[in-house]
């Protein structure tokens, strides 16, 4: 019933109400009427019995039976005019019928029982029958019998029912008609209202209005509804305008503004975001998270969704930097803030996000960092180069100093050599003379110390001569005579030449073998001999000297090392080791190594270095150009 339309309900209600009322009143009336009719008929039957008794008294007392029967017949005939009389009979004293009437034409029999007074029978069929004796002076002269017809009442009831049905039909027809009339005046405006309301809610068109059909309460309702619609329309327009303004504002913002639900679906976004996806706002809002992100790296989308959920779960804002790879594969750097957010009208938690494109800043930052790195690198490089140059300048200065010193030494030695060598020569000859002729004339035996002293003089003379020779070497500008030198041979020869004797070990390595170098053999040998002599002096009798030569194929330089496991050199001495006239040896001139360095660096365009550790040993390292070409350059 609840689901039925108003119209059907109204018709049903009206039908039921009308029908029920009519039925109730009709049935009541009928019952009442039939009941009173029964009583009336009974009363009438008794009255007719009385009348019949009076008449029968007269008739039964008539002498002439024919006259009596005639009169009786006409009386019964008169009685039978009443439709409800079913049977009527007048019996004589002997039980014979004077006159009888039966609607059904049945025979009416004299009762078997003795009737001495009025007997009324109400039969189950609804019939009432009356027997009454006809008494004259308390003597019975006959009997009368009357009965009501049940059919009469049944007929009456049937008629009532038919009338009731007719009334019901007519009444319901009228009800139908009135309902139809009501529809036009009541249901139609309501239906129209409903239709309008439906359209408004469906189409969201608040400009629609319901038609006013009547001026009654329904008309007022329609007016109120329309007024409400108008207000809603105004509010909607205001809201729309406000939303448009908001939309305009968020669309004007160059940063991405969005809201996403728990499933990662966009429930709000601005133009900047849609542009970024190369899409429209509507497309974005109708797409799922996966659809929206499928053009991007799955990892990024997953990370974003994880962050969203983190914000939703914790209920706390999140500030992050994220990357977004667009469809061209370009990486966009975003500075994003995600805030927990409940969309108005729902209980669902979502996130509201603002993402600022910081790619440019990032790039600038990166460029700055790179520039900074480059600058740092350049600085380091510059520093390195400055250091290198400083070292070069220092070396150059050192070399200049050395060269100046050497030049001065050369000059001085050149000047004094002549003066010194003559006395030395004289002394040498004098010693020779004494040595030779004291022996010859046996004068040497005159004193046991003569010979010894002569030897001392001779030895010291040799030392002095060595010093002078070294000094002269420096002053002398020797002619360079470069040629192919077989290093293996020269190095192999050193042991014999320098008299390195067992148990002192002497090892040589030359790689590759053979290795020929373009150099002045005499000068190179002088250097090597000098170094091996030094090593020999620095090592204990069972010490070890190692000479190696190795070619660097890339630089085309040969590295020759002379190492020993001797006493090593103190740091202070090491720094000055190549200085002319600097010596740590009691018998040294301080010229050997400076001459070596001069030979290697000035004459051969090479480089000479030394490294040493006290107690461990010393290593001299010589770098020489291999070929003519490098040597000349």
């Amino acid at each position: 019933m609840k689901g039925k339309s108003l119209r059907v309900r109204m018709i049903l209600y009206t039908f039921l109400t009308t029908g029920f009322a009519l039925l109730l009143s009709g049935v009541g009336l009928m019952l009442y009427d039939i009941r009173s009719l029964g009583a009336d008929l009974k009363a009438d039957l008794l009255t007719k019995t009385d009348m019949m008794n009076v008449t029968a008294k007269d008739l039964l007392t008539l002498e002439d039976p024919t006259t009596a029967r005639k009169a009786a017949d006409s009386f019964i005939q008169a009685l039978s005019q009443s439709k409800h009389i079913q049977n009527a009979a007048i019996f004589q004293q002997d039980g014979s019928v004077l006159s009888a009437y039966s609607q059904q034409g049945a025979d009416i029999l004299y009762p078997e029982d003795t009737i001495d007074k009025r007997v009324i029978h109400t039969l189950n069929t609804g019939e009432t029958e009356v027997y009454e004796p006809v008494l004259i002076n308390d003597a019975s002269v006959g009997l009368i019998y009357l009965s009501n017809s049940s059919q009469f009442i049944a007929d009456r009831r049937q008629r009532y029912i038919l009338i009731l049905i007719a009334i019901l039909i007519v009444s319901l027809g009228v009800t139908m008609a009135s309902s139809t009339w009501l529809q036009s005046g009541f249901v139609t405006p309501v239906k129209d209202l409903v239709k309008t309301a439906n359209r408004v809610s469906l189409e969201k068109d608040f400009s629609l209005r319901a038609t006013k059909w009547t001026e009654d309460e329904l008309g007022q309702l329609t007016d109120a509804f329309n007024l409400m619609l108008e207000k809603v329309q105004r509010r909607d327009n205001d809201l729309q305008a406000s939303e448009n303004r908001l939309r305009q504002v968020i669309d004007l913002v160059p940063h991405m503004i969005f809201a996403k639900d728990r499933a990662g679906r966009f429930i709000m976004c601005n133009k900047a975001l849609a542009d970024n996806f190369d899409s429209t706002v509507d497309q974005v809002l109708s797409s799922t998270h996966e659809e929206m992100h499928k053009m991007h790296k799955a990892e990024e989308a997953r990370q974003m969704h994880e962050d969203d959920l983190k914000v939703i779960e914790s209920g706390e804002a999140l500030h992050l930097e994220e990357t977004l790879t667009d469809k061209n594969g370009d990486v966009i750097y975003l500075k994003t803030t995600k805030i927990p957010y409940a969309e108005s009208g729902t209980q669902d938690t979502a996130i509201l996000g603002i993402a600022i494109d910081i790619t440019h800043e990032k790039m600038v930052e990166n460029e700055l960092r790179e520039a900074h790195e480059e600058l740092k690198l350049a600085n380091t490089d510059l520093e390195k180069r400055v250091n290198e140059r400083t070292a070069e300048v220092f070396q150059y200065q050192q070399r200049l100093i050395r060269q100046e010193k050497l030049a001065a030494v050369g000059q001085v030695s050149g000047n004094i050599a002549h003066e010194l060598r003559n006395p030395l020569g004289a002394i040498k000859q004098s010693i020779f003379f004494l040595n030779r002729y004291t022996k010859k004339y046996h004068l040497i035996d005159e004193h046991p110390k003569f010979g010894e002293h002569l030897e001392i003089m001779d030895e010291e003379l040799k030392t002095a001569d060595h010093v002078i020779s070294s000094l002269l070497d420096m002053s002398r500008v020797k002619k360079m005579e470069r040629k192919e030198v077989e290093l293996e041979v020269m190095i192999g020869d050193l042991q014999t030449r320098c008299r390195v004797l067992p148990p002192k070990q002497f090892e040589t390595t030359v790689t590759p073998s053979p290795l020929n170098i373009y150099a002045d053999p005499l000068q190179l040998r002088q250097v090597l001999v000098n170094l091996v002599h030094n090593a020999k002096d620095a090592t204990p009798p069972d010490g070890k000297i190692e000479v190696t030569a190795k070619l660097n194929n890339e630089t085309r330089f040969v590295t020759i090392t002379v190492s020993d496991n001797g006493s090593g050199i103190e740091k202070e001495s090491l720094e000055r080791i190549f200085e002319p006239l600097y010596t740590t040896k009691s018998k040294g001139t301080g010229l050997g190594l400076s001459i070596c360095k001069q030979i290697i660096e000035e004459h051969h365009q090479g480089r000479m270095e030394v490294e040493s550790e006290v107690g461990v040993g010393t290593r001299f390292i010589i770098h020489l150009p291999l070929d003519k070409h490098e040597a000349q350059s």
């Binding site: 004289a426 040498k428 020779f432 002619k479």
Partner: protein
């Protein structure tokens, strides 16, 4: 008897050489400079001349060249206190027997002179 002229401006050099050579049996004369040496050589044809290179006046090589005017077969041995490559080359190309560096080895000198002596040569 082989005659030798010792030329050196340094007296010590000169005198010790004279003593050694005389003891070895040479007939020794001496000069203290180039000019004097040339004069001596004019007067006496020595079998050999032992001469310093650097001396006051004309140097040893110049003196040697002048001496060659008188005896082109002159046997000269030079002594030098330090290397003078040009003069050495010149002297050797002019026919000098040897070019020794001071201090010289007397044994070596004696050996050279003995080879130059007329007895030996003859």
């Amino acid at each position: 008897m082989s005659s030798v002229l010792v030329v050196d401006d340094h007296a010590g050099m000169r005198n010790t050489l004279i003593d050694i050579l005389e003891e070895e049996g040479f007939e020794v004369d001496s000069a203290c400079c180039g000019d004097e040496a040339v004069d001596r050589f004019k007067q006496h044809p020595f079998n050999a001349v032992i001469m310093d290179v650097m001396m006051p006046g004309i140097n040893g090589v110049q003196a040697f060249q002048q001496m060659k005017h008188f005896n082109k077969d002159i046997k000269a041995i030079f002594m030098s206190a330090f290397a003078m490559e040009e003069l050495k080359d010149q002297a050797l190309s002019d026919g000098a027997v040897a070019f020794l560096y001071k201090p010289i080895d007397p044994d070596q000198l004696i050996g050279l002179l003995e080879q130059l002596s007329p007895e030996k040569a003859g």
